[in-house]
Amino acid sequence: MLNAAVFYFFAVLAVASAIMMVTRRHIVHGAVYLITALLATAGIFLQLQAEFLFVVQIILYVGGIMVLFVFVIMLVNLDLSLRLVQFNRQRFVAGVLALVLGAQVLGAFWVSRTPIGRGPAAAVSPQNTEAIGQALFGRYMVPFEIASILLLVAMIGAVVMGKRRI
């Protein structure tokens, strides 16, 4: 009961702020709504008992990536752009695409038709962080290293892009 209430609270919050983010004219407001949506997602992770991911989501996504976004928004903030049209002329295409996507997902729900109910008794390990650590440095060692190389490449790329003269 409490579980469901928590889920619906965060779900509604996430969807509402996602809609606000896409529709706001002001980009800083959009960023704030995106932060709210990300925090709501973190709440859903917590409701799913993935507490390590809950913290990672907040530290990395909200405390890291979004700070970068806000930083860049402030650097390129143009009062001029506020007065321009915010949407392009692809509304029709976007609507159709969303409908197609929706139909596809609903179709998948329908076709699979397995009772989408409670899963096989999902025993959650109380040591979520330890389990993730074991998996990351055990079975997923190679992907982990590749991800670190990806980050290194991205870092160098960002530095090169940030230089005034290449």
Binding site: A11, A37, I44, Q86, A98, G117, A135, L136, G162
Partner: protein, 100 residues
């Protein structure tokens, strides 16, 4: 845990909102933010299934997705900054250097 359909539907909703945002907005930064929303929707799916099957593999993939999002944000924002310095705009349909 609630029936997994709830999580799938939430994830789908966020995903669609993100797609609409990428397709309709003119501002590149908002488009990037919509992409973040899409990645986030995927993460909800991954974590929900990880809970459904009782392992941590889904969560590991969510961590990789977040890593990817960080890399993408760093490079993407770097490109936007460089472009803004050169052309004084962040609107996608004015980025037409390759059109002629």
């Amino acid at each position: 845990m609630l029936p997994i359909g709830n999580y799938l539907f939430l994830s789908f909703t966020l995903f669609t909102i993100g797609v609409i945002g990428v397709l309709t907005r003119r501002n590149v930064i908002v488009m990037l933010m919509s992409i973040e929303l899409i990645l986030n929707a995927v993460n909800i799916n991954l974590v929900a299934f990880s809970r459904y099957w009782g392992g941590v593999d889904g969560q590991i993939f969510a961590i990789f997705v977040i890593t990817d999002a960080a890399a993408e944000a760093a490079v993407g924002l770097g490109i936007i900054l460089a472009f803004f310095r050169n052309r004084d705009t962040v609107l996608a349909d004015e980025m037409d250097l390759l059109k002629w």
